[in-house]
């Protein structure tokens, strides 16, 4: 079978660190893992590390805890077993993602699990000075996340051309949702409404079986799912600084044993749960991720895993996360280089900011990270579409704006088409035009235009004196939402509802188009 997958964008990575600095950070991380080591609150993980040569002793604390001193050799050998190249599947073959640590092919996707859905509409206001002068202003309404809204988000994201994968951006809070049925409903709402790769964290270990069975039914069986893993998981197994979380470690064991891909994600905050200084922050997060990847490989050699780096910086006025700042890019770019050094595909972060509504602040914060992180060559950039108020709200209008921005960035970072035959063609063109009366190249734009090499103007541009970007983006959002839904076949839905307990009955109904 010919391998089909999304193209993403192949970039020439911008490298912030030189080889000496990478070695320095690598050694610092390994030194941290040896001393002070990690605080492991999961007995099974502690025993597994011990069985492979780690020094383990019980800590005296309120909860059962083991200190684990990890020798550098253990970490290096285990991390080296992680695959450098694997595919994340999707309902549509052409939506699969080829992750290769040696190839800086960049994909963008959604992320977080925000509580709030931010709905937007334009409202007309009249000038108090001139009653004839009116202006359209965006008005926003906060709504609690529900399964219906998550389904809507998945349908929208399926239509967004530059979104390559779907991480549930919304927390489902319907009255009928409980911890026990949260995961199956979350995954079903996602899988039923997008043909792209679906990724999420696991709320409870007990629901993993139901989620995996659901994915098997959609993919065509247990083997088909492992060949085309349409789902994968995020596991934040480390609570910074350097502490292995008990129940997340159990989930890591279970996911790896199921043979499905996962992200080992860590998100220390520079200035509170990690040093704010670049070297200290990166050495610590790298240590945490390396220990997590090592755990995965000790559970099952060759298990597909992503190096999940989400380092952030603290605001110094309230100690919340500060995303759209230079340090964020510095931390994250360093992590991308380290992932490349270890030859593990990198799950990275961009497109988050403090802005609470779409507008100029959001554009600044998002562009600042979207662009730099794409330049870094991270394979899998999450959080990139639709998030506002840090990661606390998901706004479909913002997702549409982000999609346009990411499209331009992908175009900008494309590989240069400068090869000898093309060079000759260009020389012929220049000679031809210089021999013509007006020496104008415009006619010769057409070939590049038709080949998709020439970008279009900003989709939401306004040519007059008003800024109508949000109004136009809302119109475009309405067009996208009126398009047909990519829902699963009714037979598959019926089988899923028969086999998987806990699904909300309304989720199985065909979607209504247009909102």
């Amino acid at each position: 079978m010919t391998e089909s997958f999304r193209h993403g964008v192949l970039v020439k990575p911008y490298e912030r660190l030189d080889q000496e600095q990478i070695r320095c950070l690598d050694e610092a991380s390994l030194a941290l893992l040896a001393d002070p080591g990690i605080w492991c609150y999961n007995e099974r993980a502690a025993k597994l590390f011990k069985a492979h040569g780690a020094k383990v002793w019980e800590e005296e604390s309120g909860s059962p805890c083991w200190r684990v001193s990890l020798p550098a050799g253990l970490i290096r050998e285990a991390v080296a077993r992680a695959p450098s190249r694997f595919m994340l599947g999707a309902r549509k073959q052409e939506n699969r993602l080829l992750l290769d640590s040696d190839v800086p092919r960049v994909y963008f996707g959604s992320g977080s699990e925000a509580n709030i859905w931010l709905e937007a509409e334009m409202e007309e206001f009249v000038s108090v000075r001139d009653g004839k002068a009116t202006v359209l202003v965006p008005r926003f309404r906060e709504m609690r996340g529900t399964t219906a809204l998550l389904s809507r988000a998945a349908r929208l994201c399926d239509k967004l051309e530059h979104l390559d994968f779907f991480i549930r951006p919304l927390n489902i809070q319907d009255p009928e949702i409980t911890p026990e049925n949260h995961d199956v409903n979350k995954f079903f709402a996602s899988l039923n409404n997008t043909t792209k790769h679906v990724q999420a964290g696991l709320t409870t270990l007990e629901s993993l079986g139901g989620v995996v069975r659901m994915a098997e039914l959609i993919a065509g069986g247990p083997e088909a799912l492992r060949e085309n893993p349409i789902i994968s998981f995020i596991a934040c197994v480390f609570k910074s600084p350097l502490q292995v979380v008990d129940d997340t470690a159990d989930k890591v064991f279970a996911i790896v044993e199921q043979g499905l891909p996962l992200v080992i994600s860590s998100s220390p905050q520079g200035g509170s749960s990690a040093p704010i200084q670049e070297a200290g922050m990166v050495a610590q997060i790298n240590a945490e991720i390396l220990a997590g990847i090592a755990l995965v490989q000790l559970i099952k050699e060759g298990a597909p895993v992503l190096y999940g780096s989400v380092p952030v910086r603290a605001r110094l006025d309230d100690l919340h996360d500060l995303y759209g700042c230079p340090e964020f890019n510095q931390y994250n770019m360093d992590c991308v280089q380290l992932a490349r050094f270890y030859r593990v595909p990198c799950y990275s972060t961009a497109g988050v900011g403090d802005a609470k509504v779409p507008g100029m602040q959001a554009v600044f914060e998002k562009l600042f990270t979207h662009l730099y992180m794409a330049m870094s060559g991270a394979q899998y950039i999450h959080y990139a579409l639709g998030l506002l108020d840090r990661t606390n709200s998901f706004c479909p209008l913002q997702a549409v704006l982000d999609n346009e921005q990411i499209g331009k960035i992908k175009h900008c970072l494309r590989e240069p088409k400068v090869a000898p035959p093309v060079g000759e063609e260009m020389l012929r063109m220049v000679k031809k035009v210089m021999g013509s009366p007006h020496r104008l190249f415009t006619r010769h734009v057409r070939k590049a235009l038709h080949a998709g090499d020439v970008s279009s103007p900003y989709r939401f541009e306004t040519k007059g004196m008003e800024d109508r970007v949000l109004e136009k983006a809302l119109d475009y959002l309405a067009q996208l939402e009126a398009m047909p839904s990519p829902q699963l076949e009714l037979g598959t839905v019926k089988q899923i509802f028969q086999e998987i307990p806990g699904l909300l009955p309304g989720l199985g109904q065909p979607a209504q188009q247009g909102y």
């Binding site: 009366p437 007006h438 020496r439 104008l440 415009t442 006619r443 734009v445 057409r446 235009l449 038709h450």
Partner: protein, 229 residues
């Protein structure tokens, strides 16, 4: 080839924007096939009336191109490619049309005024006008007012187009209009101006006839002048 087939192929290639056989078209896979230049030569060889070539092969095709542009199916490069096709065809056909007593839509002198070397907009207008059937006399860039007025007089041109990109050179357009007045030519020539810093207000201020935002407005203005004449 039959006359009908040749004329249809000329029209098709105008719409495709293919001047010569080596040109790519709007659609894929046309490279290497005879294009407007070769087909117009073929039409002459076969004795097809040049007026038929102009009307059936060129004019109707440009109407289709205009419609495609309005529907945003075509962009400026496509429009220019088609206009260049018509211009190339007219270069070949002109002597034969003169022999047959067919006149162009009129002489149009065009120039970028003194002190200004910018000519992209001026060139686009020149190509489009030639494609629309005007006899374009292009004086190039940095052209003094005297020379512009002299060319208008020598050619008895009913139309003059002036272009400037710089705020410092746009004033020269006023000098050209003044020179036309001094030479007694002002009431014999319509003056169209264009360029980024210019406007209808500026056109009024210097005594030009029309400000044109782009090449399409220039053609529309000329059509309006023709219909009101």
């Amino acid at each position: 080839m039959q006359e009908k087939e040749i004329l249809e192929r000329i029209a098709f290639n105008v719409i495709q924007g293919r001047v010569e056989a080596e040109d790519e078209g709007f659609d894929e896979g046309l490279d290497g096939q005879a294009a407007v230049t070769e087909l117009v030569e073929e039409a002459l060889t076969q004795g097809i009336d040049p007026k038929s070539t102009v009307i059936e092969g060129l004019t109707k095709a440009m109407e289709v191109v205009g419609e495609k542009f309005e529907k945003e199916e075509y962009l400026i490069p496509d429009m220019l490619a088609s206009a260049e096709c018509v211009g190339a065809a007219m270069d070949i056909l002109s002597p034969h049309l003169v022999q047959a007593g067919v006149e162009s839509r009129g002489k149009f002198v065009i120039a970028t005024v003194a002190g200004d070397l910018h000519d992209i907009g001026k060139n686009i207008v020149a190509i489009m006008l030639k494609g629309a059937g005007y006899e374009v006399i292009d004086l190039g860039t940095d052209v003094p007012a005297d020379r512009i007025a002299e060319t208008v007089r020598e050619n008895q041109a009913p139309f003059l187009g002036l272009s400037a990109l710089l705020t410092t050179t746009m004033r020269v357009m006023g000098e050209v209009v003044g020179r036309l007045e001094q030479e007694g030519l002002r009431d014999k020539v319509k003056v169209l101006i264009g360029g980024a810093p210019t406007s209808q207000e500026f056109a009024d201020e210097i005594g030009a006839d029309v400000y044109c935002k782009d090449a399409f407005q220039a053609i529309d203005a000329l059509k309006a002048m023709a219909s009101s004449a």
